[in-house]
């Protein structure tokens, strides 16, 4: 589904990703872990098409198509979803009009007619129940005045609405209390299908108690330095990242 080969990228002239290789197949859950500053969020940004990251080498294909040439909206329509580490507050844009616009763009891409207002509201209600998001949140402006937990739940709600093929969750667990964490993880698990894949980016092992990965990668200094099964998370939790740092410092 997703193939990353020797991906290199920089921000403001500073190299961040220094040759990433990754293969994600349908049905898989990958976790990308690593210490702060290792390039985890940059990788997510490159995949979603953020413009401040400059790709300097390598290739990324999604379902056989070169992703790097596409604008962010095209990637989203093809089925890539980025759950933001810091969801953006957009005062004045209501959740309803935001989601209606987004969902109908998706439907257009999939050759489906746009939802009527009532069908859309029905669809939204179903998804809200699925991910247990508070009804009040969708009556407000996008993320405006949301608590940290509400913002992250809202990301999962948007994911449910857009039904992506590949969800990339960037530090979705940061700043969540245990209840919110459970709601977010439940949402992700419920949305999982045999034909979809998930990349969970996280600093801590905690989220992986709830979203169980098939494969764990450790990203350090712009490269994937270790790939293993879910047991790696426990090892990292126990020993921290220092041993990785020591091992790969040079």
């Amino acid at each position: 589904m997703l193939t990353i080969k020797n991906l290199k990228a920089q921000i403001n002239g500073k190299p961040i990703l220094k040759g990433i290789n990754l293969e994600v197949k349908p049905g898989e859950v990958h976790a990308i872990m690593g210490p702060n500053g290792s390039g985890k969020s940059t990788l997510a940004s490159v995949l979603a098409g953020r413009e401040n990251v400059e790709v300097t080498g390598g290739e990324v294909t999604f379902m056989g198509i070169n992703l790097l040439e596409l604008p962010p909206e095209e990637r989203a329509r093809m089925g890539i979803f980025l759950g933001f580490q810091y969801p953006v507050e957009i005062p004045g844009v209501s959740m309803v009009s935001f989601m209606r616009t987004a969902v109908n763009e998706m439907r257009k891409y999939r050759n489906l007619p746009p939802f009527s207002s009532s069908d859309f509201l029905k669809y939204m209600r179903e998804k809200k129940e699925l991910v247990e998001i508070d009804t009040q949140l969708t009556n407000r402006s996008v993320n405006e005045g949301f608590s940290g937990g509400e913002k992250k739940k809202n990301e999962i709600f948007q994911m449910a609405m857009l039904e992506p093929k590949l969800a990339i969750l960037d530090e979705t667990d940061s700043g969540l209390d245990i209840d919110a964490l459970r709601v977010v993880a439940n949402g992700v698990n419920k949305l999982k299908r045999p034909d979809t894949a998930t990349i969970v980016i996280t600093h801590y092992q905690r989220l992986l108690d709830y979203i169980v990965p098939d494969i764990i990668h450790v990203l350090y200094n712009g490269q994937i330095v270790k790939t293993a099964g879910k047991e790696l998370a426990l090892e990292l939790e126990e020993k921290g990242y220092d041993w990785i740092k020591k091992e790969f410092q040079n």
Binding site: A48, G49, R50, E51, N52, P71, P72, E73, R75, A76, R77, F81, L82, F84, P87, V88, I90, P91, G92, V93, S97, F98, T101, A102, E105, M106, Y109, S141, V142, Q158, L162
Partner: protein, 453 residues
């Protein structure tokens, strides 16, 4: 042409027009016209050296051949078509002005005094029937400030609306003034409104400026509002005449003790637009809330100018003015807050925000504070920028196109002003108009079929 020559021609044109009406009207009106004529002869048109008109010069427009008619010239228009222009879901009492003249109909006679004492009708008719009442107020603000453009209106004023609301009376419905310009040649028009309210109830007045054909025009209108003790008024203005127009509005708000004025000006279309707002907070605890939104593209030139004077203690004023500028358009905001010596415990806030869509668009923002009291809270802020990159990326990452994301963010920017419209049906309609305007789908008048041809 040299600047001086333009200035001279413009001045001459205006004086000639003034001379045709110097003797028209009642004795008091003639006196007002003559005084204004004298003032204008001395001061002339504002030029760029005039700090208040630094970025907007009017004189070049007055060199053009705009006809001035000192009488109501009945154009052949179908009034039923005009009525289609009103906001359909909004239940209002509609008054139509054509080229500055009151258009009496069966439903809306020339002047009517209601059982509760409210008087609504043509200003000229009110001058005839209630001269004492009218002349306690008419022209007072213009004489006080001696603003050049208002002075021109004072000399040339044609007709307009008079509204008097006594204490304990309330308008049955909001009053909607449809201010139409329609002529077969370029014209200049000078509407004049006077609103006096003593009523503590919610009363609402809405003015919609339209043009019914693409002939160029200059409209230089003046409105004087007098809010007596504890009076409340909401005032909305929708400017949507075509882009070959010069639209000047001079708005004077006089507020006595405990009075509340709430307003929103929405400028959708117009070639050169200049809105002047003077607010005098004369009595304690008066509150004034001014909002403005302009959406400009092509070569539109929109200039908002406010001057809030805090004379009395414990008054609040709040200003929020926002512009969206595309193409080669120019947006100007200059706002001044003056706090007089005795006006302790003043709260005065002012904010101007501009969104630049195209780097060729120009913005000028000039906030000014002048404070002579020592126990006040005042602030002003001005911010001009482009659409937020983070928000753009967020929207696009959900599959929304660049164009659509841009649109959503512009609508959001505008909504901060439109939500200040406290009549729900009107707010909805304005939101729709703003939406269409930002998509480039709005012609001069949304629902009026003859205007959209």
């Amino acid at each position: 042409m040299s600047t001086n020559l333009i200035q001279n021609i413009a001045q001459e044109n205006i004086q000639k027009a003034m001379e045709t009406v110097l003797d028209s009207g009642t004795q008091q009106i003639v006196a007002m016209r003559k005084e204004a004529y004298e003032t204008f002869s001395k001061k002339g048109l504002p030029n760029k050296k005039n700090e208040n008109y630094k970025y907007t010069s009017i004189e070049q427009h007055y060199t053009g051949k705009y006809q001035f008619y000192p009488y109501s010239k009945s154009e052949n228009i179908n009034i039923d078509e005009v009525f289609k222009c009103d906001v359909p879901t909004l239940d209002t009492q509609v008054i139509v002005l054509i080229n500055g003249w009151y258009y009496a109909t069966e439903q809306q006679p020339k002047l009517k005094k209601y059982a509760n004492g409210i008087i609504i009708g043509s200003l000229n008719e009110a001058i005839n029937q209630y001269p004492d009442l009218v002349f306690s107020y008419l022209g007072k603000s213009v004489q006080k400030y001696q603003d050049e453009l208002s002075t021109i209106n004072q000399a040339l004023m044609q007709d307009g609306i008079f509204i008097f609301i006594p204490s304990n009376a309330q308008l049955e419905k909001p009053i909607q003034i449809i201010n139409i310009v329609v002529a077969n040649e370029p014209i200049q028009v000078y509407p004049r409104h006077l609103i006096v309210s003593e009523s503590k109830y919610e009363n609402q007045v809405l003015v919609c400026d339209h043009s019914l054909n693409p002939n160029p025009f200059i409209m230089n209108g003046t409105m004087e509002v007098f809010l007596k003790t504890n009076a409340k008024l909401s005032f909305y203005r929708m400017q949507n005449a075509h882009n070959h127009s010069v639209q000047i509005t001079n708005n004077y708000i006089n507020q006595e003790k405990g009075s509340q004025f709430h307003s929103a000006f929405i400028t959708l279309h117009g070639g050169t637009v200049r809105n002047n707002l003077w607010v005098d907070l004369l009595g304690e605890e008066a509150q004034s809330n001014l909002n403005g939104l302009w959406l400009a593209d092509k070569n539109q030139h929109i200039d908002y100018n406010t001057f809030i004077k805090h004379y009395a203690p414990h008054c609040n004023s709040n200003q929020l003015f926002k512009g969206i500028l595309d193409d080669e358009a120019t947006g100007i905001f200059s706002g001044k807050i003056l706090v007089e010596k005795g006006a302790q415990k003043t709260n005065a806030y002012q904010s101007n925000k501009n969104l630049i869509i195209n780097p060729s668009a120009k913005v000028r923002s000039k906030p000014q504070l002048e404070i002579y009291a020592d126990d006040v809270k005042c602030s002003h802020g001005s911010a001009t920028g482009k659409l937020d990159d983070e928000a753009m990326f967020y929207l696009r990452s959900r599959g929304i196109s660049h164009k659509e994301a841009c649109h959503l963010l512009m609508v959001a920017f505008a909504s901060e002003i439109t939500k200040q419209i406290l009549i729900d049906a009107l707010k909805e309609e304005v939101d729709t108009l703003v939406n269409k305007r930002l998509r480039g789908e709005l012609s001069r008048c949304n629902r009026c079929s003859i205007a959209c041809s």
